[in-house]
């Protein structure tokens, strides 16, 4: 095997090793960014006292009388 071929192979091996190292470092950075991303806040839990009852209790409310101008007889 000639010196040129040996030299080319050594350079190629070094390039392959550098590529693997670069991939590992890049993977670490990408992973860190993924873990460091702002987490989405979970939706608030429903509050029990905010839930309306299924059947509303009928309440006897007196009718509100519409005010009437006693002089002219007009209502607002």
């Amino acid at each position: 095997m000639s010196a040129t071929t040996t030299d080319a192979r050594a350079r190629s091996d070094a390039a392959a090793r550098s590529l693997v190292t670069a991939l590992a470092v890049a993977g670490t950075l990408v992973g860190w960014v993924v873990l460091a991303r702002p987490t989405v806040a979970p939706p608030p839990a429903p509050q029990l006292d905010a839930v309306e009852p299924a059947i509303a209790t009928p309440v006897d409310t007196p009718a509100i009388a519409t005010p009437v101008d006693t002089v002219t007889g007009a209502s607002p």
Binding site: R11, T28, G31, W32, V33, L35, A36, P38
Partner: protein, 218 residues
Amino acid sequence: MTAHAERPPWRAATAAALGAAAALVVLPSWAPRLVASLHGTQPPAWWQLSRVMGVVAFVLSWASVMLGLGITTRALRRWPGSARAVALHRHTSVLALGFALAHALLLLGDRLVHFSARELLLPFAVPHAAWLAVGAGQLALYLLLIVLASSHARRDLGVRLWRALHYSTFAVFALAVAHGWFAGSDRSALTAVYALAAGSVLSMTVYRVVRRAGAVTA
């Protein structure tokens, strides 16, 4: 003439331009997140980096085991070639050890989980629910250190002892899978990774054993 002089000059310029363009696109969104994770009384960067480096160490150790198992196969002899496969097998194992060490040592700076130096160095000393799984990772790290040291001292040790020690790589990988599966914070996201890695190593090991048995009986 040197090797560098033979390279066309436009390659470096193109690589620099592509790198600068990528940095312009990526950095404005990435940098603030990374800086934010370094702030506060309990900066989560230590914990986050440790987790990520543990996963990268696992992937590197998987690659190393697969390359080691596949060195004699026809596929790896064709590409990338046996010599380069051996070189990459060694390089990935050294990188795996470096990343695994960083994975452990970064926890010393962490203020979220609080590991002491004694708990990190001594296997099974972590007062944590997952102490067994953490201990498995610690054992894997020490075993990997022994395997790599034995490979560097192969001539002094002799092939037989070196091979015996080299077989403990399977234990290293099994312990690493157990550590990631039972102690890892990211198990739910990485279930497929652990399953694929374990399955591929098991398949390759069975293939090697069957092939060797066939070669012996033939």
